[in-house]
Symmetry: C2
């Protein structure tokens, strides 16, 4: 465990939208109280219900946000470098709504929540950035909610594949992005159902081998999936 933030990590964090516009002085203030840790895979970083003591920044690796209730568990989102999580809880000084665990070996920066709140009040650049980030988070969840409520699991998978393709550059063959059991949870279904859903997309030209997907007929798949920018465009 490393205590204190190595200066070598500063540029990565400074490069985040969230920290790009603030004054050097305030940035230094935040960094002074922060530290960085390396975690192995599958480590639970935070547990839902706990008080939000730190804003977390994923510097490398990846982190899954998940929730549990009544012995069931579901994957809510994945955080990839370089971005933050638990921002809303930090701002509201409220307990975490989701737990977080590393998916792989990850490097995480921890910034004390009270420092974040303090600097927020004095640095308008930082305040602006936080609002933008929060609005983005909110809109992402709303899109996800629409996906869940308006589409069947087959349609969700089809649209996930198209988003994945776009994210990978638009080629007709690409990586699925997740282990299948995790993807199933993200899409709100069981692994068995996902396996069958892939077969259900076969008539639309979708081929899957391990984590590799290939789309034989872009047109057929899009015609079935009916992607919608107000659900599937994660950039706005």
């Amino acid at each position: 465990m490393n205590i204190g933030m190595p200066e070598s990590d500063y540029p990565d964090i400074r490069g985040l939208h969230l920290f790009a516009e603030m004054s050097d002085e305030h940035f230094q203030t935040l960094m002074r109280g922060s530290y960085v840790q390396n975690f192995p895979p599958q480590i639970e970083l935070i547990t839902e219900g706990d008080p939000s003591d730190f804003l977390h920044v994923v510097l490398s690796g990846s982190v899954e946000l998940f929730s549990s209730w009544n012995n069931r568990e579901t994957s809510m989102a994945t955080v990839r470098p370089i971005s933050t999580f638990i921002l809303a809880a930090t701002i509201k000084e409220a307990p975490y709504l989701m737990s977080a665990r590393t998916l792989e070996k990850s490097r995480i920066a921890l910034i004390p929540s009270q420092d974040v709140r303090k600097v927020f009040d004095t640095d308008s650049g930082f305040a602006r950035a936080i609002v933008t980030e929060l609005a983005q988070c909110y809109r992402t969840v709303v899109k996800s909610q629409k996906d869940l409520k308006l589409r069947t699991s087959l349609e969700r998978l089809a649209n996930y594949i198209l988003r994945c393709q776009r994210h990978a550059g638009g080629g007709d063959t690409f990586d699925l992005g997740y282990e299948k059991r995790r993807l199933a949870s993200i899409l709100g279904m069981t692994p068995e159902n996902l396996s069958r859903a892939f077969k259900g997309l076969h008539p639309y030209g979708v081929q899957v081998k391990g984590r590799n997907v290939s789309i034989r007929s872009q047109k057929d798949l899009e015609q079935f999936a009916k992607p919608d920018r107000l659900i599937d465009d994660y950039s706005s």
Copy 2:
């Protein structure tokens, strides 16, 4: 249609968390460009995909936020006085993700989005309030997402009833809060399924007559519903 904001509406709006902490000067700036309209029931106020020209404030009545895709429609949330909607789209200068329609005769204030963004940059009290409001919105959607992904429709209904009861003061008989078809959509099910779900809760002491619900056995219902503050407590 009334053009311009009557001064008599100022106190209601000023009383909102969102506008309570800002300077008088900035508040006046916002109000000068704003206006208030009265709408009959079932009027579509905004349509998803449209540019976000105004921040909306519900002064009286109620407004439903809903979304459509592929000829399907789902209810996303209800906005009751006195609160705002479309804040995230306003901040991000992005298109609305949801449509809005009045449920009843409603009085709505419209504040130009560009004014909101401008004042945000200069008034730190306002900035703070916007962040708090957005964080609240975000957490509300996350809770709703957990409700959807972790619970069956029967469990969602049971917990809805308990939340409703709490909101109504805790008595064992209270109003359902919505027309049943709308509640079904909010809970992510069909009206037929909702009707059967009410029957499914009968063994736990739930009686429904029209919009009136009564709980015969608080303990049984809670034991079944397993309410969780990280899903069902809308105050934090």
